[in-house]
């Protein structure tokens, strides 16, 4: 290979996929009881978006076309976001298998991915019942806000500690998502929209529970340096992803796409169909970050206060 070729094609960084499979010895006993119990609870609490939601509650809605279109957009956007987990959650399962992590993780993540597909399907059906699912954002900017936050790549990168991924993705990002879902359930009057949000929230309780149970199991076995990596990952997730509008459009930098998203949220909320607005969500977000900080502290993970132009003081 020539020098020029070397410079234009740097050596590929190995991933977990470069390792040959070593299935044996195959250990399947319970190692983290809380996680195995979550798998069993998930098995017992399955639901079907087609049959377990009262879709008739979306018939004959007294809303104008502007509100209807906004709600279609809101639920389509939520479907894109849930879909992201269908394509990313499986990468973590591959990681658990490749690294022969505790068997309970592998069991739980099979059904977690199925739950993500239920969520995408339910959001798609909401959009369809409101006039039609929209296949893509109108603005290119918008695509970034619903695209991957790199979970798949991180999951397959053996140099990114698994515990850091779980801490950031589950104990931070999913915890914020769960708190927002709980808030949406409280304020959404339409029966079908409320059922969808409530059903998703019940699954998300387990998703968050998994993250905390796993950290509780792993932290005592980790070095200070390894815990520091987790701390850095959580800070990055809150400061650069969540506070950049990943879940809450009003936190995103101003742009035409952001303004459109915020407006669609407001119209959907006005129609009682399942979104929220800055003034209602702001205290939920603040409390969520405070709670995450408090729960991570006993693990030796110190989350600082954050600044953001949307808040008067530190969050």
């Amino acid at each position: 290979m020539s020098i020029a070729e070397t410079s234009t094609h740097p050596p590929r960084k190995p991933t977990l996929l470069d390792r040959p499979e070593q299935r044996f010895p195959l250990k399947l006993d319970v190692e983290i009881k809380k996680v195995r119990d979550l798998f069993r609870a998930a098995t017992r609490n399955q639901w079907d978006p087609c049959t377990d939601i009262d879709w008739s509650a979306l018939e004959g809605l007294d809303i104008d076309n502007t509100h209807r279109h906004a709600a279609r957009m809101y639920w389509s956007r939520r479907a894109w976001s849930e879909y992201g987990a269908i394509s990313e959650s499986p990468a973590l399962l591959i990681r658990f298998c490749e690294e022969k992590r505790e068997p309970d993780l592998r069991y739980f993540f099979t059904i977690r991915t199925q739950e993500e597909s239920r969520h995408a399907e339910a959001c798609y059906l909401m959009a369809e019942h409101l006039g039609g699912y929209i296949q893509q954002p109108a603005l290119v900017d918008f695509q970034k806000s619903v695209a991957t936050h790199g979970v798949r790549k991180m999951a397959l990168d053996p140099e990114t500690p698994l515990e850091a991924i779980i801490a950031a993705l589950v104990c931070a990002a999913e915890e914020v998502a769960f708190d927002v879902f709980r808030h949406l359930v409280e304020i959404t009057p339409n029966k079908a929209a409320n059922q969808v949000l409530r059903s998703i929230m019940r699954d998300e309780v387990r998703h968050c529970g998994f993250g905390w149970a796993y950290l509780e199991h792993r932290i005592p076995r980790m070095s200070r340096a390894e815990i520091d990596v987790c701390e850095k990952a959580v800070i990055t997730m809150i400061r650069d992803v969540e506070m950049n509008g990943y879940h809450s459009s009003w936190l995103a930098p101003d742009s035409a796409a952001t303004r459109g998203e915020i407006e669609a949220d407001r119209l959907t909320w006005q129609a009682g169909l399942g979104a929220t607005v800055e003034e209602l969500e702001k205290p939920v977000f603040v409390e969520s970050v405070r709670s995450i900080r408090e729960r991570l502290a006993p693990f030796g993970i110190a989350i600082p206060m954050f600044e953001h132009p949307k808040f008067d003081g530190l969050v």
Binding site: R12, L17, D18, P20, E21, Q22, R23, F24, P25, L26, K27, L28, F39, R40, T43, R44, Q46, D48, C50, T51, A79, W80, Y83, G84, I86, S87, S89, P90, A91, L93, I94, C97, E98, R106, Y107, F109, T110, I111, T113, Q114, E116, S117, R118, A120, E121, Y124, Y133, Q135, Q136, P137, Q143, V146, A147, T148, R152
Partner: protein, 293 residues
């Protein structure tokens, strides 16, 4: 031996994102699977298993037979997630296979849990095969192959679902037919029901895709089928009497005789021959001519 990995996985372009039903046969399977959910903890009559009814050597044989089933079922845990990712990475692909595969993966976990738990009740799960050559058959690294951009997804589905999942179903039906123990029977009933959908998925998918294949794709599919039959199945991954693991073949004979859910070589061989012949005929109808000898 696991095959080379090119190091390249496809690059995702998420939009336009198709979530509408597209392949109705597969969407129906997905809907059926959601409605057919079951619970290994509650739906298997574990309390009816009485080990005192069996001699120690029978229990030991059955523990090995069910451990082997668990080793096979475990393969789905890394393989199916890789398939889901691959379908998501292929541009503008239908949502139905993605949805269906997420349920399939849950069902694989339930199968694994049942096989492992039953092996434990029978005296203890065996963590690995005694034969290194047989153990190597399980280390195919299928999740790497699925994600490898240099390999055809359709060829993968043809060989690993059309051939392997189909054969798996037929053998499972045979084992179910031999099972008189209520726990073995109940587990195998659920496995047969789920695997019927898993096998159907492969053929429905291939039927949808076949019209778009060119000669190069049909050749790649045939080559993958030949590899899977020659290098994996005829080496004894599922029909263990084709491998050097005589201990497991003997265990299966004893397990089958006791009604605990296995089969002998004499019973499995015609099933293997019949299924491969039927699958080859089906592939021929799709324009794929594989030479499996």
């Amino acid at each position: 031996m696991p095959r080379d990995f090119s190091g390249e996985i496809p690059v995702e372009r998420r939009f336009p994102l198709h979530l509408e039903p597209s392949i109705s046969t597969i969407r129906d399977l997905y809907d059926q699977a959601k409605q057919s959910r079951w619970d290994p903890e509650r739906d298997i009559p574990w309390e009816q298993f009485d080990p005192t009814r069996y001699a120690p050597e029978v229990l030991a044989a059955a523990a090995l037979s069910w451990s082997r089933k668990a080793w096979t079922e475990y393969g789905g845990l890394p393989e199916t997630p890789a398939l889901i990712i691959r379908f998501c990475l292929e541009h503008e692909r239908e949502s139905d296979p993605k949805y269906f595969l997420t349920v399939r993966n849950t069902e694989e976990a339930w199968h694994l849990e049942c096989c492992h738990h039953f092996a434990e009740l029978l005296g203890g799960f065996v963590e690995q095969p005694a034969s290194p050559a047989y153990a190597a058959l399980f280390n195919q690294g299928l999740h790497r192959e699925v994600l490898d951009a240099s390999r055809s997804l359709d060829a993968y589905v043809a060989a690993h679902i059309g051939i392997q999942d189909g054969l798996d179903l037929e053998l499972c039906r045979l084992h179910r037919g031999n099972a008189s123990n209520p726990v073995a029977r109940a587990i195998l009933d659920y496995l047969v029901a789920d695997k019927t959908r898993h096998a159907a998925f492969g053929w429905f998918y291939l039927e949808t895709r076949a019209a778009g294949w060119n000669d190069a794709e049909r050749h790649a599919i045939a080559a993958e089928i030949e590899h899977v039959v020659r290098d994996i199945e005829l080496k004894g991954l599922r029909c263990v009497w084709l491998s050097d693991s005589t201990d497991i073949a003997e265990a299966d004979r004893v397990t089958s005789g006791a009604g605990l859910g296995a089969a002998t070589r004499a019973e499995e061989e015609p099933v293997l021959r019949r299924y491969l012949a039927e699958a080859m005929a089906q592939f021929a109808k799709l324009g794929v001519e594989a030479e499996i000898g």
